[in-house]
Subunit: 356 residues, 2 copies
Amino acid sequence: MLKYKGENIMELDDRKKKILALVVENYIESAEPVGSKQIADNYENDISPATIRNEMKQLEEIGFLEQPHISAGRVPSTLGYRYYVDNLMSNNTLSMVDIDYINNNIVSYGSVEKTLEHAADVVSKLLNLPAVLNIKTTDVVENVKILKISEKILLIILMSNSGNVKDVIVQITDSLPETRMDELSRLLNKNLKGTPLENLSLALNDVVKKELSKFSNILNEMEHIVRKELDEPKNNMKGNMESLLALPEFSNTNEIKKFLNVVNTKEIINEVLNKIDKDDISVIIGNENNQMLLKDYSLISLDFTATDTTSATLGIVSPKRVDYKKAVSTLKAVNDRLKKIFGKEKEDKDGARKED
Amino acid sequence: MLKYKGENIMELDDRKKKILALVVENYIESAEPVGSKQIADNYENDISPATIRNEMKQLEEIGFLEQPHISAGRVPSTLGYRYYVDNLMSNNTLSMVDIDYINNNIVSYGSVEKTLEHAADVVSKLLNLPAVLNIKTTDVVENVKILKISEKILLIILMSNSGNVKDVIVQITDSLPETRMDELSRLLNKNLKGTPLENLSLALNDVVKKELSKFSNILNEMEHIVRKELDEPKNNMKGNMESLLALPEFSNTNEIKKFLNVVNTKEIINEVLNKIDKDDISVIIGNENNQMLLKDYSLISLDFTATDTTSATLGIVSPKRVDYKKAVSTLKAVNDRLKKIFGKEKEDKDGARKED
DNA sequence: ATTAGCACTCATAATATATGAGTGCTAATT
DNA sequence: AATTAGCACTCATATATTATGAGTGCTAAT
């Protein structure tokens, strides 16, 4: 059995390539093992099913196809998908509808995180699969502002060095005179400046301990809210259950449980995502990653550098049978869009956001 | 067949009551039709299964129990559940763990909506079911403030008459001199004051049309973001898929699809929720509501008045087989907690939030 | 009024028996 | 030498067939 990416590279002849592509695409489409007759019907030049069978047998022998059982059609192996993704897959152009959807729904939301979250939403909706978003930032707090909204409501705004903004509304029990506001502001600035956004609630906890006596009602409340509101898990799942339920892979409930369990465990996903290439789109198929629990699934993701201090991976998790072509082109388009938003490229007329 | 809530009220003797309660509770617990032997085993005074069978038969005749098929045990009918909820259900006291969880996780978040959303989260987590939250507010915008966060980032804060606060971060392409800030502020206040929060994006759209020439980059952006961020559907679902998958009712995927479809269609849920009593806990079982699509499900919900202008319904949707006792006691505890937060009751030491 | 006894029902499980899609191989055809 | 018709073979799935047993309702005895 020859290795495709390894010592000896198997060069497939055109007919084998065409047949492999057809098997992959038919299987992605139908979720049923693909038989020789089906391929013969779809093959442009007339060849008999018998010939196709011979070819398919060879494709199986070199490890590109698999048979669920002896009298079934063929299903792509991980290696088969890989060869398809690397060599056979045409780069699909997205429909105008999809492009519009991307441009209209991914816009700058002032905060890097919110923008990326919307991007993840968009990816999830377009591909009908749960999206994973993993933001890594080394941003630190640069400035804290306090705004008195009303007698008993304060708005506390935290600005980071790269322009990220987070804010929390804090309700206090007794109103605060102007002078004390200034004091609170100085105190927060002194204590929080330089704190990595990731550690915000920890740092705040320290502030509470140190300065509680002075502003007990505010600090306590704030620490509590920050913990709940800002300290969300870094690995976000944007999901849409209905679309998963529609996949034949998930006709039985146990498979859904297994999948959700894997997808919701950020350690599992991150272990894989941490190894992908910077600023590029990665396709990781089945057991190509060494995470046993992910062996039946694929991750297709984009690594994106938003600012000097913030980067993210954004992608989808799905069964191995997935429309790689559409997924990759969608992520490419999202990448282009994000680049524009974060100023990595000149804005051009065509890609600019349309007002509707 | 006698009507329980109708003209003729069936008075059950103690033994029948006890048996009905046992059937309901066993069925809620096991999800399997309950047989006479099982009841006999759990019944405190020794009675034979044969006697139980006679009683069960009568309970079936008056419409409190049903048989899936002739040789199966009994399952409570809608009427049976109803009688149980109204007359037989002891009011369970929640565990200290649950009470603590409620007190620690439902706190004031400055905005009524956020607070209620957290409450919905808590209810969903405690009961392992999707929670529905439906907030009705007649609040209007009272004041708009603009804060320059940095050269190109503005924070726009909208305050309502009852102290609700919403804010959006807007990124602009060209920085704005101080004088123009004031102009923008006046303009927004003039145009938005008095706008019901519900119509915000519509009103903003008008502003954009009218005043676009002056502040095109800001207004456009703002309208866009408001539409996406604030104009979320009023009927929120807080859900936890895994817990649903664990229910035997949802062992087959189609049932899940049906359920999710119903639960995610806010019109269906609202049609029922709009009829429940103000400031009270309602239990609506199966076809008691006239929504055919909800006939296999129950809604247990709390109507809560948060401020003069804002009220909400908060509850759970589930298969008819659900722990009514725990659901009702949880909502009661949540109600108490919310009352304290929204100042409807004196705070007391015991229920006060604990710092951990 | 209660209950032991027993025939009866019917969902579920276990088993046996088609059906047919798809294969691999051989031998004939191009 | 490459292709393909022909055919026996495999095995998942569907259908039919037959236990199994939990639970009932009724009758007659307690």
